[in-house]
């Protein structure tokens, strides 16, 4: 488990960027955290780190959005999917394709649909703009490209904190 406390949206985006820069094909990240927690900010940072030129917008309406970067990025909002079966019916296989990176919001709705080496990032709201990110995974060391991200993160924390 890794805990990262971000003082600002800029630092949160920098965390995402570090993850995006290091990500390897097949990385799946599940987000936890309610409305306004900062999932969009983190997703935008990851996209930037992956070199996605387009603006990452909310995937809520179509459930999933796909972007082209250094690797394909698929961004899924599972809020209105009610089970692992519905996740698969709605396009799960495509979203989790091993050539890209997949971000899943409201992943708690579709437990069982995500691979075993999924990295979970839980976001808790601190005072003001600060956010606490708890990063966990059953096999965190094996998650594609995640170890280098953690090393990058150590740098990102310092610069991101504005010290």
């Amino acid at each position: 488990m890794i805990v990262f406390v971000s003082p600002s949206p800029e630092a949160s985006a920098a965390l995402g960027e570090a993850i995006g820069e290091a990500a390897a094909p097949g990385l799946v990240i599940a987000f936890r955290g309610g409305l306004g927690a900062g999932k969009t900010t983190l997703a935008k940072g990851i996209a930037r780190g992956l070199g996605v030129p387009d603006e990452v917008t909310s995937p809520t309406y179509t459930i999933a959005s796909e972007y082209e970067g250094r690797l394909p990025l698929r961004h899924v909002d599972a809020y209105r999917l009610r089970s692992a079966d519905e996740f698969e019916d709605a396009g799960g296989e495509l979203w989790l394709a091993p050539d890209g990176v997949c971000l899943v919001e409201w992943s708690e709705n579709v437990e069982g649909a995500l691979p075993r080496d999924t990295v979970t990032i839980a976001i808790e709201i601190g005072s003001g703009d600060s956010r606490r990110f708890t990063i966990e995974g059953a096999r965190l060391e094996e998650a594609p490209g995640f170890r280098p991200a953690v090393d990058l993160l150590a740098v990102g924390v310092k610069t991101g904190a504005g010290t």
């Binding site: 409305l35 306004g36 900062g38 969009t40 900010t41 935008k44 603006e55 990452v56 917008t57 909310s58 809520t60 309406y61 179509t62 459930i63 999933a64 959005s65 796909e66 809020y79 209105r80 999917l81 009610r82 519905e86 019916d89 709605a90 396009g91 709201i125």
Partner: protein
């Protein structure tokens, strides 16, 4: 020419017969709202299933109300993009089979372009105009020069405007659909009760863009920070203040586009175009010549699909049986700007 239009991109199962692109002969809209209400949002699996159950009956009724037999149609148009993949697929497959069985031409149309055709139904709205397309899935300011000549000037960089209404309404348990419920509450509230921050966006490339993620977070997570303590914390006051912040942002960007392009005619479409505050400001603004499609053609419907389909078929456009549903939004490419 009489064209059948089929729409199943989200939670409305709709079909209509339109003559020569403008005269609506019949229009049937079967809404799935009650089936999605308990989930506070459209559930894709439910939407697809309901479309499968209903589409045959909806089309039959559109034909019956038009007093026509299927083989008297001159063509079939269907929304093929954008929307929910499974929901779109139902309409597309139905339209393909229907047109094939009748040996009639058919064409897949873009849902957003269809919304921009809606002001031509039962009316004539001369080009060019600015389009404001606002709904749970879309927030677009576009320059429209023809039925398929559209330049995107501004869009959202995060959440759609209707999505922000829906999420705030859901968080405070105000009801569903969020936009409609908040509109009704806002009429009884005072917008001065809270002063939400205006998003800071870069002046240059984001000149016409909007952002709703910050406003949503402010309303959900930091309400006490922006609340004016002289006002009671009621749902009515919250709805009024939120609505004003959300709609004023759209108006700010729209007015910039009016100023830069010199185009004063503005057509509003999509579910949020039904918002009473938006309508009253647009209708009374001295710089704007506002045109609203009738409310029945503001939300999703088959008539706008049939109308646009007529324009495309008349030009010679045809889709073949390989047509597939595409959930992504192909007109989202940014234009060069309004100047």
């Amino acid at each position: 020419m009489r064209i059948l239009g089929i729409e199943s991109s989200c939670d409305e199962c709709a079909a209509a017969v339109v003559e020569d692109g403008r005269r609506v002969v019949s229009s049937v809209v079967a809404t799935q709202i009650p089936f999605h209400a308990r989930y506070d949002g459209v559930v894709p699996e439910i939407a697809s299933r309901k479309h499968v159950e209903w589409i045959d009956g909806v089309v039959a009724r559109a034909l019956a109300e038009a007093g026509m037999k299927a083989d008297e149609l001159d063509g079939v148009a269907v929304t093929s993009t954008p929307g929910l993949a499974g929901a779109l697929l139902v309409g597309v497959q139905f339209a393909k089979a229907f047109a094939w069985s009748l040996r009639k031409p058919f064409v897949g149309v873009n849902h957003m372009l269809a919304h921009l055709w809606a002001p031509q139904l039962e009316a004539d709205t001369p080009y060019p105009f600015l389009g404001l397309l606002v709904s749970g899935g879309h927030t677009l300011i576009v320059r429209v020069e023809g039925f398929d000549a559209v330049e995107v000037l501004g869009t959202t960089i995060d959440d759609a405007v209707g999505e922000a209404f829906d999420k705030v309404a859901k968080h405070y348990g105000l009801g569903y659909p969020g936009g409609l419920v908040m509109d009704a509450l806002a009429r009884k509230g005072d917008p001065r009760a809270a002063r939400f921050p205006f998003p800071k966006l870069d002046k240059g490339e984001h000149r016409y863009d909007v952002s709703y993620s910050g406003l949503k977070t402010a309303a959900i997570r930091q309400l006490e920070l922006f609340w004016n303590p002289e006002y009671p914390r009621t749902d009515e006051n919250l709805a009024a203040a939120f609505e004003k912040a959300a709609i004023d942002l759209l108006l700010d960007r729209l007015l910039k586009a009016v100023e830069d392009t010199g185009i004063r005619r503005v057509v509003a479409g999509g579910g949020v175009a039904a918002n009473s505050y938006l309508r009253s400001v647009l209708a009374s603004h001295p710089e704007i010549d506002a045109r609203f499609p009738p409310l029945s053609y503001c939300g999703d419907n088959g008539a706008m699909v049939a109308g646009l389909g007529y324009m495309m078929l008349a030009r010679g456009d045809r889709s073949d049986l390989s047509l597939n549903a595409s959930p992504r939004v192909p007109i989202y490419r940014r234009g060069k700007g309004g100047r």
